[in-house]
């Protein structure tokens, strides 16, 4: 089997002969993706399939007085026109709350708006036709009479008594509030020599998956079964929700997820138009396809961030941080998104702020408010980019105030590597972190001293370069503490079933899913290594609720750490089963044997005893030759969920080196570094590429991406030309380094790596820009994205 980086891995306790753990094995699914032979949901075509398009509210808040579809019904190809009230008879509404977020409230959301539209883009009527084009023709002929209502758009005034309440039955526009006080923050601030205070703003942005959300729902009344092809990160979660709201049993629902064209947290939520599509299939008794177009994506894919954080830090002259305080306000649209809620990100900001540091004097408030904009919910690195940028922005401002080097202030305050287990200011528990080793690694990797000297030389030439850092912690491998304890039927555990086929190859069925991260490769590496076969003898089955063990899917950096461990254990279990059969064939003790490279061998000598193909042949076709009482069990299933720790925190540090053109306000990124610690690295290349991709998404938030709304709740840049995402020419090369601190909770010791890049990049870029502009006397920039006009304004040039 080809291995990209063929240096043998460092031996650990879990290494076995022919181990693939720690090696850069290429992903098995890449060839079909490169040859145009993938199957995304947008490619799925079924017999009798019809297409749905939605009439969407042009108003941010409006009463729907009447819908006239007479002309639309006559439009060529139109099959059905369905309003919210009509669809309500097929699918029940939902409320996005969880019990562990105390006091969170939201209103019932319908698959299609009934009586009232609460954001510009909410579907108010469905048109089903033979083709998508004909469905859109029909939409243009549907006449909706609206009565425009006042739109609540500014989170700052959402709670004012004179602001209209969006959902009258809730009493006010407050979704959720959390206050947290730890240690003695008042005393901490009193003891500080300096207190630095500022306000950070994080603009709304969104995922812009290259493949828009797509779904094909196929209700078969003959079987009383619904098969849903959906580009989702959580097939079993969706199976539960479709059943619950369509009044079906879960076993009547099959969710199939094949190739997914990008997800990043966008495709792990319940979308009204997708629920409507499934309901329409049940209503019309035929397959219905919905593929969002790009404008629909911008106004209905969950948006993210949109936080305003007032923050302050106390620091002594020797660099000791004495206290933190934050006040976070975030606007989440008119509904808390189902089923994960829109309270989690603010909750995470409270949890994570100050996380890498020893100072435990901490005061936090977070308020989540409703508004008449598109819904906001969890997107890659939920809460981390905000908490990290706030914390790291404060730390570098404090360092500047007392005249200390930004790495030195971190050295004096980061939790010591030998101080674990430990906890963050909010009480979050850390099993083992490596902040100082990561910082030292970064310092050397980037040649910090050399860069500072270079920066100084350039400054003398009137060229303004900046260096910025961000230490961070990342939540990975979540236990039931994330969602399950709040009542959501979202699995924290994951399972793997491994079976030996009749030729000695193995199939591994896993509950985690793939959207490009490389979960398929990682699961194959784990099971091939623990069972003992070459990787080309492993086939992975995923993304099908009929054919995989119950599992959570792929989100919150859980696939490798949780799904990988389940596969590792299942491979071990099957090895024992196969060796039991081999032992009875060979009349040898199974514990004296092992499986290596697809062959049963003597454990001590490595002498080949019998091939797996021969074991399988005898077990399947000539079981009569086995001793009586021996039944071969050639399938094994194991499950895994983290138990010792609620979350497996990882850590790391990033650095950004950039140049600001003080005439144009443009930022040129020169280089970016990230050192992170995700525990055991199963596939170094895949981890590095997760970090790089994550960094660039974080850079997008820092410099480009912004969902711009006007005061009436209209999205002004809902297309790819006006909403800027990072392009190749603007991005730097990104160097990635690792520290390895395995979690003891699993045998593999792997933590997650998918969100580390996104967690730290915005803060490090912000700090680098401010470092660049400091000699020019510019007030620190804290309002993301840092567009050229904001930079020129900070420089007093406009």
């Amino acid at each position: 089997m080809k291995i990209v980086d063929d240096s043998p891995p460092v031996l650990t306790a879990l290494d076995r002969p022919n181990s693939y753990i720690g090696r850069s094995v290429p992903r098995p699914n890449m060839s079909r993706l490169m040859q145009g032979r993938a199957q995304y949901v947008s490619d799925v075509v079924l017999p009798r399939m019809a297409h749905v398009a939605f009439v969407r509210s042009p108003h941010a808040h409006a009463k729907i007085k009447s819908i006239n579809s007479d002309a639309a019904k006559k439009s060529p190809g139109v099959i059905a026109i369905v309003t919210g009230a009509e669809l309500d008879k097929v699918i029940t509404p939902w409320v996005g709350v969880l019990t562990h977020l105390k006091g969170i409230k939201s209103a019932p959301q319908h698959a299609i708006a009934v009586d009232r539209a609460c954001w510009a883009g909410e579907a108010v009527c469905a048109v089903v036709a033979r083709t998508r084009a004909e469905a859109e023709d029909g939409c243009e002929l549907v006449q909706v009479d609206y009565e425009e209502l006042t739109a609540v758009t500014d989170p700052e005034t959402a709670l004012d008594p004179k602001t209209p309440v969006i959902h009258a039955e809730l009493g006010d526009n407050l979704t959720f509030e959390r206050v947290h006080v730890a240690g003695d923050p008042d005393k901490g601030f009193a003891e500080a020599d300096e207190v630095v205070e500022t306000t950070f703003v994080f603009g709304r942005h969104t995922g812009v998956c290259n493949e828009a959300r797509s779904i094909v729902a196929d209700w078969n009344p003959g079987e009383q079964r619904m098969t849903v092809y959906q580009g989702t990160q959580a097939p079993h979660m969706m199976q539960n929700l479709f059943a619950k709201h369509l009044d079906l049993q879960e076993h009547q629902i099959r969710v199939i997820t094949k190739d997914v064209g990008g997800s990043f947290g966008i495709k792990v939520h319940t979308y009204a138009d997708e629920m409507a599509t499934v309901a329409l299939s049940k209503l019309l008794k035929r397959p219905i396809k919905f593929v969002a177009d790009r404008i629909e994506s911008f106004v209905t894919d969950i948006h993210a961030r949109d936080h305003r954080v007032k923050a302050r830090i106390g620091v002594k002259k020797d660099g000791t941080i004495t206290a933190w305080e934050i006040d976070d306000l975030t606007g989440i649209g008119p509904y808390s998104v189902y089923p994960r809620t829109s309270g989690i990100e603010a909750n995470q900001v409270v949890n994570l702020t100050g996380g890498p540091y020893t100072c435990g004097n901490y005061k936090a408030r977070a308020r989540v408010v409703f508004q008449n904009k598109n819904v906001m919910c969890q997107y890659r690195a939920v809460g981390h980019p905000i908490a990290t940028a706030v914390t790291e922005g404060l730390v570098e401002m404090a360092a500047q105030r007392i005249g200390m080097d930004p790495l030195e202030i971190r050295r004096r305050n980061l939790i010591a590597d030998d101080a674990h287990p430990s906890q963050g200011p909010s009480g979050i528990k850390f099993e083992a972190l490596s902040h100082h080793e990561a910082l030292a690694h970064l310092d050397a990797m980037m040649n910090y001293a050399g860069l500072r000297a270079e920066q100084e030389r350039f400054r003398k030439q009137g060229i303004y370069r900046g260096i910025g850092f961000a230490s961070f912690v990342e939540v990975t491998n979540p236990s039931a503490a994330f969602y399950g304890v709040g009542g959501a039927r979202i699995s924290a555990q994951d399972g793997a079933t491994v079976r030996l086929d009749a030729t000695g190859a193995i199939f591994c069925h896993t509950g985690v899913s793939e959207q490009g991260q490389g979960a398929e490769a990682v699961i194959a590496q784990c099971v091939a290594s623990s069972f003992g076969v070459p990787m080309d003898r492993v086939r992975i089955i995923m993304g099908d609720t009929d054919n995989t063990p119950y599992g959570g899917g792929t989100w919150a950096s859980r696939a490798a750490g949780i799904g990988g461990e389940a596969a590792w254990q299942a491979g071990k279990a099957l090895r024992q089963n196969v060796l039991a059969v081999a032992g009875s064939i060979l009349q040898a003790k199974s514990e004296t044997m092992d499986i290596r490279n697809g062959i049963v061998v003597d454990k001590d000598t490595g002498k080949e005893r019998i091939g797996l193909d021969e074991v399988a042949r005898i077990a399947y076709f000539r079981p009569d030759t086995l001793p009586s009482g021996i039944q071969a069990e050639l399938v094994a299933t194991r499950h895994y969920v983290p138990r010792a720790w609620a979350f497996s925190f990882t850590n790391g540090i990033q650095a950004s080196y950039l140049e600001v053109d003080t005439d144009s306000g443009f930022v040129k990124l020169l280089k970016h570094w990230c050192v992170e610690d995700c525990g055991t690295v199963i596939n170094p290349q895949l981890v590095d590429e997760q970090v790089r991709g994550g960094v660039v998404q974080g850079i997008g938030a820092a410099l480009f991406e912004h969902c711009l709304y006007d005061e009436r709740g209209q999205l002004l840049n809902g297309n790819m030309a006006d909403y800027l995402v990072p392009m190749a020419v603007e991005m730097p090369d990104i160097e990635v380094g690792h520290v390895v601190t395995p979690t003891a909770d699993s045998e593999l010791g792997a933590k997650g790596a998918g969100e580390a890049g996104t967690a730290g990049a915005p803060g490090s870029v912000m700090n680098a820009i401010n470092d660049a502009l400091r000699p020019l006397g510019a007030a620190p920039l804290t309002d993301m994205p840092f567009t050229p006009d904001k930079i020129l304004r900070a420089l007093g040039k406009i």
Partner: protein
């Protein structure tokens, strides 16, 4: 409207095709829906993202900005065609080796765009590679690995020629 239809004849990946299309149908919709060549993807439908990149008469174009009806007599090549012919086998191998794709949705367009640059025969700088692929959105990789892969192929092809 959909009642305006026209007949077209063209070659697609070397095969002659006679079809009747809606006048308003884009080339990429025609390829995906009528010919079931689903390797060309739809990302933005207004010429920004590059997911629908195909070659028409040897030139890289946006399949969403050209109508099928404009392709009368044209030679159209898609990712399926250039994969089967082996034209970009070295580029695909380099993408695999470097993990220069994640979700893969942008990849067919990215490969065709990269091949356009590589076909000039020069070994471009990393900056030039970055500039050339800046009409193709990738949300997964951060581009670094893609640049590495294209650079490796450029060097290998140049080495092979000398």
């Amino acid at each position: 409207m959909s009642d305006m239809r026209c007949d077209i004849s063209l070659t697609v990946n070397g095969e002659t095709v006679h079809e009747t299309v809606d006048a308003r149908q884009t080339l990429v919709d025609f390829l995906r829906e009528q010919l079931v060549l689903t390797g060309s993807h739809i990302g933005c439908e207004h010429g920004v993202c590059g997911a629908c990149t195909v070659r028409v008469n040897g030139l890289v174009v946006r399949g969403c900005l050209m109508l099928a009806a404009q392709c009368e007599g044209a030679s159209v090549e898609t990712i399926e065609g250039v994969s089967d012919s082996g034209e970009i086998a070295d580029l695909q191998a380099a993408f695999e080796k470097r993990n220069a794709l994640q979700c893969g949705f942008c990849t067919p367009g990215m490969l065709l765009t990269a091949q356009e640059l590589l076909a000039t025969g020069h070994v471009p700088s990393r900056e030039k590679i970055r500039e050339h692929i800046s009409g193709n959105y990738c949300r997964c990789t951060g581009y670094h690995a893609i640049v590495d892969a294209i650079e490796a192929v450029a060097k290998a092809r140049a080495g092979g020629q000398t």
